[in-house]
Symmetry: C2
Subunit: 116 residues, 2 copies
């Protein structure tokens, strides 16, 4: 899903990765990390998609919350495994979100159906 | 592929979208926009992945290059079509990339194979 983030400014970590096609244990680890990230102080949201490459964006209140998450012990272990077993290449970019805008299709029809 | 961007600071537009499963013409338009973006002043790179949601990140030298791209006539037409035909929801976030780091598997074995 698209993350419901507050008004800017806030922070984003864009994690883009290329992994081996065979990567046993990767999916479980990725799910666990998404769950664990959501319990961290300053966490605002998470978006992820993968086809040829994977892009995961996590959103955070500030740089401290990003640093804390990077140093989380279980996350450090996942980072180690990632480099040893799964990733061919990755890049992490730490960004300040300065502005955002969006679009959402009017759900009037859907709502009126429900209310009947 | 993972974009080869210069040293920070630079800018990123994170475009996260949810579209209708049936979306005729979408793929061609997305490809054309990726090509066209690459010809714009200040363009630095592009990353895209889609499964349940789509995440496209484009990288730019500065905010002016992002503004110019947003106002490109062919891009404006694509934005209009996107809202009319393809997208259920989207969010665009304009970010300043402050720091990055990466990992790349050593390709020594591969290289030695090629040189033989």
């Amino acid at each position: 899903m698209i993350a419901k983030t507050p008004s800017p400014p806030y922070y984003a970590v864009i994690f883009t990765s290329l992994k081996f096609p065979e990567s046993e244990g990767y999916h479980e680890m990725a799910e666990r990390m998404a769950e664990l990230a959501a319990t961290q102080p300053g966490y605002l949201g998470y978006e992820s998609a993968r086809d040829e490459i994977g892009i995961t964006v996590s959103y955070w209140e500030n740089l401290d919350s990003i640093r804390n998450w990077k140093q989380n012990l279980e996350h450090l272990e996942a980072q180690r495994k990632g480099k040893e077993n799964w990733y061919v290449q990755y890049k992490a970019r730490i960004c300040k979100v300065e502005r955002d805008y969006g679009f959402e299709l009017a759900l009037a029809t859907e709502k009126s159906r429900i209310s009947k």
